[in-house]
């Protein structure tokens, strides 16, 4: 059965916040994240004849992650370095430690591989179960757990080293 508009909007309402949180930690730009989420839903709508509503949420995640990967690749090719929003947002009344914190976090997260980043962020924000995560990422469920554990340990090590 083809995708209905109501199902698409319901999925959007449900997934907008977790998607934003995952994508933001990859793109670090609010506008890019918003555009990407919109583009994801629009793409699925354009292919609605072939979309099954029962697997819509997983498809939204897969499509969004692929679009984010393309966006990051585009940035590398165009040597596009977006303005650091956190730096821009933190104005005069912020201490040096707070000023540096987002940069440190960005740097620490970037040192992880994309696969590890995705497992970590999806585990934290998506609300998907281990098996659902494995299905979205195309990896075995056991790998999800081990990768998450290793990534978190590495991240903590990096962040404590920096501070």
């Amino acid at each position: 059965m083809a995708l209905r508009q109501e199902a698409l909007y319901a999925s959007f309402k449900c997934l907008e916040k977790p998607l934003f949180n995952v994508l933001y930690r990859q793109l670090w730009q609010t506008q890019d994240c918003q555009d990407l989420i919109q583009d994801t839903c629009l793409r699925l709508w354009q292919r609605r004849e072939r979309v099954d509503e029962t697997t819509l949420d997983a498809l939204v995640w897969t499509t969004a992650l692929n679009l984010a990967k393309n966006r990051l690749r585009w940035r590398v090719l165009r040597r596009h370095e977006p303005l650091d929003e956190a730096v821009v947002a933190l104005a005069d009344d912020v201490s040096e430690e707070d000023f540096l914190a987002p940069r440190q976090l960005h740097a620490a997260l970037r040192t992880l591989s994309r696969a590890s980043q995705q497992v970590l962020l999806l585990s934290e924000f998506s609300g998907l179960s281990g098996s659902e995560l494995a299905s979205v990422l195309g990896i075995p469920p056991g790998t999800v757990a081990s990768r998450k554990h290793a990534s978190m340990a590495r991240l903590k090590q990096l962040v404590s080293k920096q501070s």
Partner: protein, 109 residues
Amino acid sequence: MNATTLLFLPLQPPSGGLARLRFRVEQSAVQRRPWLVAATGFAATAALALIWLLSGTFAQHRETTRLTRALQAAVASPDNGIRVEHGAALALPSGQANVHIYLVETTPR
């Protein structure tokens, strides 16, 4: 608050996302087949070009037909035979049956 906690602090996306999506979905229904407009335009242009070319061909064909008829009339024998006025004509023998040769002399008026 430690740095890892800060990294995983849930963020709120900006508002208006759903309204924007609804608008884009409705817009996509209107613009669903832009290729159809382009294809229609191309087909119409091709049809006009074909009509223009063919009309030129037909006009040329009509002219050719008229010219052919005129030439045929010019070389055909007159219905009432040859009549000479203000002169004299002498038929000369020719080697071919459909070729007639005359020696024509005009007389002064």
